[in-house]
């Protein structure tokens, strides 16, 4: 379980509290007005922000002492998910070894991961030579190689068009099904949440609310969500 026990994250004067848990294999959407702290929540779980109060645990183990790279977490940001000066194969290789000393077996795994996301034979390209959708696929392929049990998505597909975004969400669903990872995805689009997530966390007023089944939430939206969605 990913457990946030009375956790509070602070960024300057801003505070965000959370007190709930998610299980391996869950798929949760994080929704709420901009500036409400959706990214803060993900940065906190990812290890870029330290909790000012409370405990953050995975399978009973405290995550606080772990730096971002050592957490059981893969994260995709809104942008800058690939190093522009490295090839796709090197970018993926960093998911296996920070020193990029790769064995032939690991090189084969990189090729297989590229195949899996539909980028066969593009390992020698640099990100600049790819489309936005292909870059997203490459970043997802790296999370496959890292094989961490938690996948955090901070609106990584928001710059893609509707059809591409739909493709990517489908791919994430497939990959999560295969690996059994817990996926937490920030989105500002209710349709994304309904299509992808069985649970949704509403973030507003400095609180990341208890995850509730997505359909229930949208059938009987609380006031904060109604304000956000509009008439």
């Amino acid at each position: 379980m990913l457990r946030l026990e009375g956790v509070e994250f602070r960024r300057g004067a801003f505070r965000l509290t959370a007190d709930w848990a998610l299980a391996p294999g869950d798929r949760a959407a994080v929704i709420g007005p901009s500036g409400s702290g959706k990214s803060t929540l993900l940065m906190g779980i990812g290890g870029f922000l330290m909790p000012a109060r409370g405990r953050l645990t995975w399978q009973g183990q405290d995550m606080a002492p772990l730096p971002p790279g050592d957490r059981p977490v893969s994260i995709l940001f809104q942008d800058h998910n690939l190093f522009p000066h490295l090839t796709l194969a090197q970018n993926l290789g960093l998911g296996l070894s920070a020193r990029l000393r790769l064995t032939p077996a690991e090189a084969a795994r990189i090729d297989a991961a590229l195949d899996r996301v539909g980028l066969s034979g593009l390992g020698a390209r640099k990100p600049g030579a790819l489309s936005g959708g292909q870059q997203s696929r490459a970043a997802l392929a790296r999370t496959l190689l890292r094989a961490r049990p938690i996948l955090l998505l901070d609106e990584p597909f928001s710059a893609l068009g509707p059809a591409l975004k739909s493709d990517m969400l489908g791919l994430v669903t497939e990959l999560a099904d295969e690996t059994g990872a817990l996926v937490v995805m920030v989105t500002h689009d209710p349709a994304d949440a309904r299509r992808f997530a069985d649970q949704t966390i509403l973030v507003s007023g400095g609180i990341a609310a208890l995850p509730v089944p997505t359909e229930t939430l949208f059938r009987q939206p609380p006031q904060a969500l109604r304000d956000y969605l509009g008439p």
Binding site: F9, R10, R11, G12, G46, G47, F48, L49, M50, P51, A52, P67, P68, G69, D70, V73, S74, I75, F77, H80, N81, L82, F83, H85, L86, Q90, L94, G95, A98, R99, L100, R146
Partner: protein
């Protein structure tokens, strides 16, 4: 803030500590030795001369730079970008070469005096106070122009458009737009030039000298080399350090060493400068500055070319020594700047480390040299370590420039890619190899070029340490000049310029090429 604090970056901390040790260690050696020594009246006149010539040089350089920068900011003409790029060149031109060029124009047998004699007029002498100031203006006018020009370019184009829409004339534009900018930029430019002239050694060595035109740096050199009065040299060095530290403190953090950077070749559309008189004045100012800056180097080339077929003995050995010193000090300086920069951007104690990186601004070649001489002298004959000490001192003195070049880039890399690197657990050497160095390569190459050219042309601490055998190329040029072998000196100077700019070009291009 509960943001995860970066870990302490030990290589950077080690560099910061080593810098403090070098600066404070040499200062300590100087102070210990200075105790009980006394100054001659000539030394006090050296202090007065140093401050006076630096002040006059700063005022003249900046004073002339204002109209040049103004003209460059508001005119477009063919070759404008090239001219602005050339304004960066004197910073890399070896001092001794520029002096040689100035002598070819203003010297006893120079173009100017030949013309004056032909007209039956009295010849002018370039030696002494006005010669030193002339050379300093030659070096620092371009630097000041670039600093002030970047101030002018910093005024948003929309302001000039608004001024035009309101029908403001040149006077009102000056008062409301340009004067506030100048008031912000000029103090920094004045202090920067003042500080450079305060530590002037090679110019004073060649164009000054004697009781009425000796800088403190030159007095230190003479006390060590000619009188071997180490106590007096130490006292002078302590005095020089106090002067520089005072100027640096006065400058605060106002001073940006080396006004490099792009974005300066973009002329802003102006509506207030269309009058024929303004046009004529700007053209005259730009032409005068171009002639003043271009003719001396061209004279060196003209006088040096015939001598290339008969190069003086020992030239290639001296060139090899200079190259070695330049490459070693470049490697040292960049490694130190990189370690320090990474620690400043990522780790804790970043303010203290940045301050440590700027310490060498308050140091001078001869003060550091004297300190190291005093430390080494009881242990080993200093001339044996002449090249090593020169490389070390050059690296330390160039560090603030390299650091100021690298820091903004390092901050940019951290802002754009730091999170991803953290998320992937990319730390230490792996982060350096796969993220920092590849992204930093262009500016790393440029910084390496600047440091190598500066070190190649340096004539400071080497003069203090070298014996007859171990001369570097600038020292060889100076010795040839001292022996009045002007043609040989010009030829050697030409080789020196070629090597300096060649090294700069190779390193700069290498960095950019590898990055693409």
């Amino acid at each position: 803030m509960a943001r995860r604090a970066g870990a302490v970056s030990w290589p950077g901390v080690a560099v910061g500590a080593a810098l403090c040790l070098l600066m404070l260690g040499t200062l300590g050696a100087v102070l210990a030795r200075a105790e009980g020594a006394s100054l001659a009246p000539a030394d006090w006149s050296a202090v007065r001369f140093t401050v006076l010539q630096a002040a006059v040089s700063a005022l003249l350089s900046v004073g002339f730079a204002v109209p040049v920068a103004r003209a460059l900011a508001r005119r477009r003409f063919a070759g404008r970008g090239l001219l602005i790029s050339l304004m960066g060149a004197p910073f890399l031109l070896p001092v001794i070469v520029a002096v040689l060029g100035l002598l070819a124009v203003f010297g006893r047998q120079g173009v100017l005096n030949t013309a004056l004699q032909a007209l039956g007029l009295q010849a002018v002498s370039v030696y002494g106070f006005h010669g030193v100031v002339l050379a300093h203006v030659f070096f620092n006018l371009p630097l000041a122009v670039r600093m002030i020009l970047s101030g002018w370019q910093g005024i948003p184009a929309e302001r000039f458009r608004l001024a035009a829409a309101l029908g403001l004339g040149p006077g009102a534009v000056l008062r409301h737009l340009e004067w506030p900018m100048l008031r912000a930029v000029l103090p920094g430019a004045l202090v920067a030039v003042f500080l450079i002239c305060l530590t002037s050694f090679a110019v004073a060595l060649t164009l000054g000298g004697g009781p009425r035109a000796t800088t403190v740096e030159l007095a230190i050199y003479q006390a060590v080399r000619f009188e071997f009065d180490l106590g007096r040299a130490a006292l002078l060095a302590a005095l020089q350090f106090a002067l520089c530290a005072g100027a640096v403190l006065a400058a605060g953090w106002l001073v940006q060493p080396g006004a490099f950077g792009g974005g300066m070749d973009r002329p802003v559309q102006r509506w207030d400068a269309g009058g024929p008189l303004a046009r004529l004045m700007d053209a005259a100012v730009i032409a005068a500055a171009t002639v003043f800056l271009l003719v001396p180097p061209v004279m060196v080339v003209a006088r040096g070319l015939p001598g290339l077929s008969d190069l003086p003995a020992g030239l290639w050995a001296a060139a090899a020594r200079s190259l070695l010193v330049a490459l070693v000090s470049t490697a040292l300086c960049l490694a130190a700047a990189l370690a320090l920069g990474i620690a400043i951007v990522r780790g804790r104690w970043s303010r203290a480390l940045e301050a440590a990186g700027m310490l060498p601004l308050a140091a001078s070649s001869l003060v550091l040299g004297t300190g190291l001489f005093l430390i080494l002298h009881p242990v080993i004959a200093p001339y044996r370590l002449a090249l090593a000490v020169t490389a070390l001192v050059n690296a330390a003195l160039a560090l603030p420039f390299a650091l100021r070049l690298l820091l903004p880039e390092l901050r940019g890399i951290e802002a754009a890619h730091g999170r991803l690197a953290d998320a992937l657990g990319l730390t230490g050497l792996a982060r350096l190899r796969w993220l920092v160095v590849p992204r930093l390569r262009p500016v790393l190459g440029f910084a390496a070029g600047v440091v190598a050219a500066l070190s190649m042309g340096d004539l400071g601490v080497i003069a203090l340490f070298a014996d007859q055998g171990a001369a570097t190329l600038p020292l060889l040029v100076q010795r040839l000049m001292g022996a009045y072998r002007m043609e040989a000196a010009a030829a050697a100077a030409l080789v020196l310029v070629g090597l300096s700019f060649g090294l700069f070009w190779l390193l700069d291009r290498g960095g950019r090429h590898a990055a693409s």
